[in-house]
């Protein structure tokens, strides 16, 4: 218990430090000039149920790679939830792929957030999926079209419910 408190104190002191220096979250997404297929994967969710990316073929998918210890991942998460709430669920899916943590860690983390995420959280416990997607740092996010092709990328935190991002998603949904 003492050890946990110690970690919590240190983490919060880093968060204080991070509050000052974290860059503002932008909304730029980079267009993939060479459209490539998104590699399919199977991971488990918070309920230990298996989920495949291909389960969502026909929907536009925002695929986000993150971890609870990553400050910009935490900062962009509320905007992902707002995006998830705003955009038509029949044609759009937000999937947050956690890196090398377990359900208990993520459950404890999401319980501390102002808004509990209602989007899909999956567990990439060996980071094998992030390697398939050439993720070098967290957070990294891909926007995948209805045909399962990667169309946009963002390295670093973003405001995902920005009007321009929503416009891009709606354009992909309308294709």
């Amino acid at each position: 218990m003492k050890h946990l408190l110690f970690i919590a104190l240190l983490t919060s002191s880093f968060a204080l430090e991070a509050d000052w220096q974290q860059p503002e979250l932008s909304h730029n997404l980079t267009v993939f000039k060479d459209v490539i297929p998104a590699t399919d994967f199977e991971l488990h969710d918070m309920d230990e149920e298996k989920v495949r990316l291909s389960d969502y073929k026909g929907k536009v998918v925002l695929l986000n790679f993150w971890a609870t210890w990553c400050p910009p991942c935490i900062r962009e998460m509320p905007s992902m939830e707002r995006l998830h709430q705003q955009v038509d669920a029949d044609g759009f899916k937000v999937i947050a792929v956690n890196q090398m943590e377990d359900v208990d860690q993520v459950f404890a983390f999401t319980g501390q957030l102002e808004v509990d995420p209602t989007f899909e959280i999956l567990f990439d416990t060996t980071s094998a999926v992030s390697r398939d997607y050439a993720v070098r740092g967290l957070p990294t996010t891909y926007l995948i079209d209805k045909d399962g092709r990667i169309r946009y990328r963002a390295v670093g935190g973003r405001e995902f419910d920005h009007a321009e991002v929503i416009k891009i998603i709606e354009q992909l949904m309308a294709e």
């Binding site: 210890w69 740092g137 990328r153």
Partner: protein, 191 residues
């Protein structure tokens, strides 16, 4: 007379532009009022580099949380570790390679910065599979992209050095220096 006034105004604006340009590429130092820890920031030619002092106990806590062996936790904490934020502030494609970066100690000697690949190889031998937290070796940043991670320097607590880093913007290699960087102390400085 009119020409003289215009000429003077033009000269002043040129000087102001030069001064502004010089200020834009200066290192800014920030002291956290809660912890006393220091942060250095340099924004030059489309690349912003920020180094944040991190306490050894913070490093211990991070790697303990990820079940690292005790020896590996202590080895990581023995380094001078900085939280590092890199950002593409330009409107072009930007890239960097940590292998091109050096730190220069007060004796004038230049040393390579240890890369994530080197760390991961050592961790693998110690049975560690965790592969995050360290600054990626290579970055390919589009407009608005940024990234963060730990930079590790093999120097003792409170040691001073200059970090010399390179980046490529639109095919041109640039070099920047964060001067007089100080390794974090063993524990929080007295306020």
């Amino acid at each position: 007379m009119k020409k003289l006034v215009l000429g003077t105004l033009l000269a002043i604006s040129v000087v102001m532009a030069l001064v502004t340009g010089a200020v834009a590429s200066e290192t800014k130092v920030h002291k956290n009022k809660n912890t006393g820890l220091l942060t250095w920031t340099l924004n030059d030619k489309g690349f912003q580099v920020e180094l944040i002092q991190l306490l050894p106990d913070f490093i211990r806590a991070i790697y303990a949380k990820h079940n690292f062996p005790k020896d590996e936790i202590e080895r990581a904490a023995s380094y001078c570790v900085f939280g590092t934020i890199l950002k593409n502030t330009s409107d072009q494609q930007l890239s960097y390679r940590v292998a091109d970066w050096r730190y220069q100690t007060s004796d004038g000697k230049s040393h390579p910065v240890k890369t994530k690949t080197q760390w991961l190889e050592e961790w693998r031998k110690a049975g560690v599979t965790f592969s995050w937290t360290l600054l990626p070796d290579v970055g390919e940043f589009s407009v608005g992209d940024w990234q963060q991670g730990f930079t590790t320097i093999k120097l003792p607590r409170n040691a001073e050095f200059d970090l010399i880093f390179k980046w490529q913007l639109d095919g041109v290699v640039h070099t920047g220096t964060l001067e007089n960087i100080i390794c974090a102390p063993e524990s929080l400085p007295e306020m």
